[in-house]
Amino acid sequence: MKKNKPLISANDLSRFYGQVRAIENVSFVLPHGEILGLLGPNGAGKSTTMQIICGVIAANNGSVNIAGYDIQDAPQQAKQNIGFLPEQLPLYNDLTVDEYLFYTAKLRGVKKVNLSEKVTSCKKRCGLETSGNRLIQNLSKGYKQRVGIAQAIIHTPAVIILDEPTSGLDPKQILEIRKLMLELSIDHSIMLSTHILSEVEAICDRVLIINNGSIVLDQYLKELLANGDSLESTFMRLTEDSNQ
């Protein structure tokens, strides 16, 4: 894995659900150490794009390359380099936090010798040190979100993909999660989707706006703001003709 190679490169991704077009010709790259914000109205294709990149669903067209591995040709190696937090938290409510994290760590191929060390350090990172023995169903929404993020980073993947990581959280929790994401971005690349424009402004390096299944903007936030545009006005202008 070379440092200068992009961690994610998506080429001409298209996906149809029956006759309905979810995304068409979506291409972008995510280099090392960047936080990429994926914006778009509801139903624009954000979740579909993320799920294709993680190999949860397959694209009808196009290819995804993760850290040098094609998601279709070498799914095992590619998926070892991804941590994915879907919009609906993938939690087993009847397990404790420890049981759940050990299980997901093993699923993601963490070696037995590193197992308890990884789980401990991951819990520390996500502020779950004291919650190990609690049942997931008894946790608050904010803590469930932390467990969700913990399962995505437990195997220290190169890329972390988070689908609306701060939805439904209170302002304090949102700030905590943002802080966590900034910490993670030191040694991981992050791609996140959100509806909160200020969140993108706060933490993202680059912004990708997707509308009606196509990418309408792919720009560094600095460049965008240097042009005198605000993110909000750009977003509104580009998503004017949204189907929703």
Partner: protein
Amino acid sequence: MINNIILIAGNELRRFFKSPLAWVILALVQFLVAIFFYVPLITYLQPASVASGLTDAVVSTMYGFAAYIILMISPLITMRLIAEERQLGTIKLLFSSPITITEIVLGKFFGITIFYMLILILITLMPASLLFGTHLDLGQVASAFIGLLLLMTSIASIGLFLSSLTNSPAIAAISTFGVLFFLLIITIGGTNSSLKTAEIVSYLSLVSHYNNFLSGLFNSIDIFYYIILTIFFIILCIWRLDTERIYG
């Protein structure tokens, strides 16, 4: 490959035993089968009894009824397997992990098969208790044991496949019940007719092959019937999940 299957099977079992459902099922099956063990035993002990032998009269009868009870209760055992993963959204966790769909399906299958084996061992303790006081035809008992195990694996794979078709465990349960009940009652259709089709229908029945095991007939055809049925539905389940990734 093997490690991942064991991992998923282990998680399946662990989560199943965390719910009261697993314990209730174990208790209920044990109680119901015990009735069909106790009643033939008491009848056999009557002085006027004309039964052929203890193994035939008690043990085979018990295993025979146990199959019906398991057929009835199975939808509740297998309904959650994949439907619930979908409902919880954890299927995305599995799909985004570096494991194959085959490993997921086989893990689920073996996990639930271990639960079925537990049921089987618990109910076998009842005829085994007779060994303290009398002799049994151990060959016939073993044949019934293996027959029921094979029947259970095919029931498990049918339930697993039907659970992969929906995201609601309730729908998985009711459709599994329908399919198993159909495969049960086509025996009746097969016995009361002289038509050629009746023979075929009866051949397809889950129970007609099991009856051979009960009478101690260890036929390779019956073994293959269950093994093929099991593998067939496991493959269908793998295909179904694969298709979902591509088209769903």
